[in-house]
């Protein structure tokens, strides 16, 4: 093994976040099948691209993500408990179980609260980027979304605005090939990254299965944004190895899939990269995996013991000062 180098530490951190996310993913899906969790949108297959993108970001940069960004959050340092508590909607969840699982939020790590309607985070990201530019801050905004989002009016609006105002924002399209049942070939006639040209911003494609490639492409985009050179659309291609959500049966619409542990699995690809550079060996990989497994089991069990939030919290926090109507209605309900 080589001496500890900055890159080695970075790569091991990246790999560990990917393994943690994959382990958590499996645990949540299994728990959903057992009726312990209500719903989930698995991230399996998108670990490398998200971690690669996260490596290029600072904590003070703002993330406007979507409902499949667990690896990115974990790599950013969001505690695993934050993820599990949200999924369980328990009393320790910041939003007290108001949102369905996969709709995370972490102000501490500048990860904007997640919405369901796809791509509606993108215009928000341009507003945030405008604010940062106006306030003369060096930080930038990363907005993530799936391939299906590229068809929406919000995608068009946001990229156009980012072009017009030369905003410090990176649009990261996590192209996993599927928008529920619609393959990307039926979503759009062209490669998504090429759409950047229409908005006068930079477009680039990354191998989303290779975290180093995604890191390099996103890092370049981040650098441009920080230097005031404007926005970039990065399309990172990967595979959605799981279903759209735990309520979805992909066998109805797709015949092929990337199997876990196969050559195209981004975790396997990442292991190869780390081994080639002699940053890890099989023993270390096993170590990381078993440690991670233990951590997930431990945290999951701990979080499961937390009681549900008080029902009254479901009707709080709508406004700074609650309305007389809601007070009256809640009195009737509780």
């Amino acid at each position: 093994m080589p001496e500890d180098s900055e890159e080695r530490n970075k790569f091991i951190k990246a790999y560990t976040a990917m393994v943690l996310s994959r382990t958590l993913d499996r645990k949540i899906v299994t728990s959903q099948r057992q009726g312990r969790v209500g719903f989930y949108t698995p991230t399996m297959g998108q670990e490398a691209l998200q971690v690669g993108a996260s490596m290029a970001m600072e904590t003070a940069d703002l993330i406007y993500g979507y409902y499949r960004d667990v690896p990115l959050m974990l790599h950013r340092g969001v505690p695993i408990e934050t993820i599990i508590n949200q999924i369980m909607g328990n009393d320790s969840d910041r939003a007290k179980g108001r949102q369905m699982p996969s709709h995370f939020s972490s102000k501490e790590f500048n990860f904007m609260s997640v919405q369901s309607p796809v791509a509606t985070n993108l215009p928000l990201a341009t507003g945030a980027a405008y604010a940062l530019k106006y306030q003369k801050k060096k930080n930038i905004v990363l907005a993530t979304f799936g391939d299906g989002s590229s068809s929406t009016p919000d995608f068009h609006a946001a990229l156009n605005l980012a072009g017009v105002f030369e905003l410090p924002v990176v649009f990261l399209c996590e192209n996993n090939g599927w928008a529920i049942s619609l393959p990307v070939e039926r979503q759009t006639k062209v490669e998504i990254w090429t759409k950047a040209e229409a908005y006068g911003i930079k477009g680039v494609k990354a191998d989303g299965n290779n975290f180093v490639d995604t890191y390099e492409k996103v890092n370049e985009a981040v650098k441009r944004a920080r230097e005031g050179k404007g926005a970039t659309l990065v399309e990172a291609t990967s595979f959605r190895m799981g279903p759209h959500s735990t309520s979805d049966d992909p066998t109805k619409y797709r015949t092929e899939n990337v199997e876990e542990g196969s050559e195209k699995d981004p975790i396997v690809v990442s292991e190869k990269i780390l081994k080639q550079r002699k940053y890890v060996d099989d023993k270390m990989i096993e170590n990381i995996k078993s440690r991670t497994h233990k951590l997930v089991e431990e945290k999951f069990n701990e979080c499961e013991k937390i009681s549900p939030p008080n029902p009254s919290t479901a009707f709080e926090g709508v406004y700074k000062n609650t309305t007389w109507m809601l007070k009256e209605e809640v009195e009737d309900i509780l």
């Binding site: 215009p123 341009t126 604010a131 106006y134 009016p153 919000d154 605005l161």
Partner: protein, 322 residues
């Protein structure tokens, strides 16, 4: 005090806000060089710069979405949608982002902003420059909806809206932009959100109205010397329930006037609240004088808008009831 019309009062409010606080940003279509199609933002871009009074590309979803993002990042945006009729592509942003961020983030993320838009008919604007869509917004938890009927309230409500801490939909009755005039303080003052105003006292009938119909109602009441208690709601969400109930208890007879279509208009909610909370005070049916359940027409808008004939018919009907 200066005599102003509503356009000048709103301009004065925004001028004040921009001069006081560098985080105040205006964004909308044609609001900069052109000063807005109704001239509400006239002169503000040359005074405060293109980065603070932003001429936006023609994209309502982008204007609203961008304003939300600004509000989330420490700015205090006032966004303008040129006509309320054009706001619908931004409804996803308004309903699913703007209104829900505080709730869904456990209060970590809030959206202190104002979304201004002219609404209502009577300016020969046809189907797409005349709509009164207040119900769409008032039906959404997380929003606050206000509408002034005169220059004083316009400035005072806008100043209050900017300090409200939550998103405010600010509906401007475009028919009154220039026709409504009055004394307006030059400096800062507030018209509280959530408070209606009893603008004329009387004992025989309550007329509950808001926005563009207020001057119409006042003229008719004066002309016919009706002993009416007239309430200008000023805030549509949340309604001022105390003001509504106290006038009902005083007169026992209620006419509600608005130009939005009758079905599920504000009048429906007000009627239901009165029925639930003050039915024993009623001495007759609650009557609504509203726009009909049709699109807003171009050629015959005077038939669409509640007029003297229809308002008097309702007033006479409840006053002679029983």
């Amino acid at each position: 005090m200066t005599e102003m019309n509503m356009v000048q009062a709103l301009n004065s409010a925004m001028d004040h806000l921009l001069s006081k606080d560098k985080s105040v940003i205006l964004l909308g279509e044609d609001i900069g060089k052109d000063g807005g199609v109704f001239r509400v933002t006239e002169g503000l871009q040359s005074k405060y710069g293109e980065d603070r009074v932003i001429d936006m590309p023609l994209v309502e979803v982008g204007i609203v979405g961008m304003a939300i993002g600004m509000a989330l990042t420490g700015l205090k945006p006032i966004a303008e949608i040129q006509f309320q009729d054009f706001i619908y592509t931004a409804m996803d942003q308004i309903i699913n982002q703007m209104a829900k961020l505080r709730y869904r983030s456990g209060g970590d993320y809030t959206v202190p902003m104002v979304l201004r838009t002219p609404y209502g008919g009577g300016v020969k604007g046809g189907l797409y420059h005349s709509q009164s869509g207040e119900t769409y917004f008032a039906h959404t938890a997380g929003l606050t909806v206000v509408t002034p009927s005169n220059p004083y309230d316009a400035k005072g409500l806008l100043l209050s809206s900017m300090e409200y801490g939550d998103p405010v939909i600010f509906l401007e009755p475009k028919r009154l932009y220039r026709s409504s005039k009055g004394e307006v303080p030059d400096g800062e003052y507030k018209v509280p959100i959530g408070e209606a105003k009893n603008i004329k006292e009387g004992n025989s009938v309550s007329i509950i109205t808001y926005g563009s119909m207020v001057p119409t109602v006042l003229n008719i009441v004066e002309k016919h010397k009706i002993d009416a208690d007239v309430i200008d709601l000023r805030t549509l969400l949340p309604l001022d329930i105390n003001a509504i109930l106290s006038t009902v208890k005083k007169t026992g007879k209620v006419v509600i006037v608005h130009e939005a279509p009758r079905t599920l208009g504000m009048g429906a909610e007000i009627s239901a609240l009165i029925a639930e909370k003050a039915i024993d005070s009623l001495l007759g049916p609650i009557l609504r004088v509203t726009g009909p359940d049709s699109p807003f027409p171009y050629r015959w808008e005077e038939y669409y808008l509640p007029n003297e004939k229809r308002i008097m018919k309702a007033v006479n009907s409840v006053m002679t009831y029983g």
